[in-house]
Symmetry: C2
Subunit: 167 residues, 2 copies
C-alpha cells in the first residue's frame, strides 16, 4: 500500500464496504463526526455574510419559534452548555439581534428578547439554512433525506434526555 503511487483513501463502491465496527467507515462515531464537521462548515460559510455562525442562527431560530426565553431555557432547547451560551448571547446582543431584559418573575434570570432587527434576520437565516440543507443533503433522495433526519432526531432526543451521569 505504501508503495503505490496513485493512492486512494477509500474505494469507489461504497456499497461494497462492510457495515461493521471493525472498520472505521462502519462506525457511526466516525461518520457522524465527519458529517457534522462538514455541515457545520457549510453553515458557517453561508452565515458569515450575516456576521454569525451556525450556533447564533440556532439560538435565533429557537427564540423565533418559542418566543421569549431565559438563557437557561434557551440553552436547554439548543443543547448548549450554560457557560457556553453566555458568549453567544453576548455576540447576538452586540449585533443588535437580541436583548437581555429583566425577567418578569425571577431576578436571577434574564429574559432574552429578539429585537425587531433580529426578527428581520429570520427570513435570511431560514433561506440560508434551506440552501445549506439542500446542498448538503443533495446526494440523498428526498425520502432518504427525510429518513436520515428522523433517525438522527430519534438518536439525539434519546441521548440528550438521559440523566447527566449516564450520558
Amino acid at each position: 500500500m505504501i508503495l503505490k503511487k496513485t493512492f486512494k483513501p477509500t474505494g469507489e463502491d461504497i456499497t461494497s464496504l462492510a457495515l461493521t465496527s471493525e472498520t472505521l467507515t462502519g462506525r457511526s462515531g466516525f461518520l457522524l463526526n465527519k458529517a457534522a464537521a462538514k455541515v457545520r462548515d457549510h453553515y458557517d460559510e453561508a452565515l458569515t455574510t450575516l456576521g454569525m455562525n451556525a450556533r447564533h442562527a440556532g439560538i435565533l431560530t429557537i427564540l423565533d419559534e418559542k418566543g421569549v426565553l431565559s438563557q437557561n431555557e434557551l440553552g436547554k432547547c439548543a443543547y448548549i452548555d450554560r457557560t457556553t451560551i453566555v458568549a453567544l448571547i453576548d455576540d447576538l446582543e452586540r449585533l443588535g439581534l437580541v436583548e437581555r431584559k429583566e425577567h418578569p418573575t425571577d431576578r436571577r434570570s434574564h429574559a432574552i428578547y429578539m429585537t425587531e432587527k433580529g426578527r428581520g434576520f429570520m427570513p435570511q437565516i431560514v433561506k440560508k439554512a434551506k440552501e445549506v440543507e439542500k446542498e448538503f443533503l443533495g446526494p440523498l433522495t428526498a425520502s432518504e433525506q427525510k429518513n436520515l433526519l428522523q433517525l438522527l432526531r430519534k438518536l439525539v432526543f434519546h441521548h440528550y434526555s438521559m440523566p447527566k451521569e449516564t450520558r
Copy 2:
C-alpha cells in the same frame, strides 16, 4: 413560555415535529452536530482505559485494515488534516502502539508501522467500538441502524471527495 415552571425543552412526541429547516430540530446541521458530540463522548469514555481517544483508535483501525501507510495516506484515510495527524502519531508512538520508520522509497515520508503491542490492542478497540455502537445506536432497530450508517456514508464520501475549494 418564560413563566412556565416546568419547562420542557422539547416535546415528547418526536414524530409530531416538523422536518423543516425553519426549526432547529429539523436541520441536519443541528442534529448531526449533537449526535456527533454525543457519540464522541461515548467513544472517548470507553477508550480512556486504553489511554487513547476516538481518533487514536481510528488511526489504529486504519492501519490494521490497510497495513503500513505513510502519515499522509493515513490522514487521507481518516480524513484528518496533515498537521493534526502529527500529534496523534506522536501519542500513539509514545504509547508504543505504532512506530515511525524509514519509508522504503521516499525519504520525505515516514512509514507508520503498527507494533506488536498495537496489534494486541486491536481486539480491545474493536470490542469497545462494538459496545459503543450498540449502546449509541440502541434506540434504533437493526434495520434503522444499517440504514443510518449507509446514508451517513453516502454523505461523507460525497462531501470529502469534493475538491477543496468547493467543500
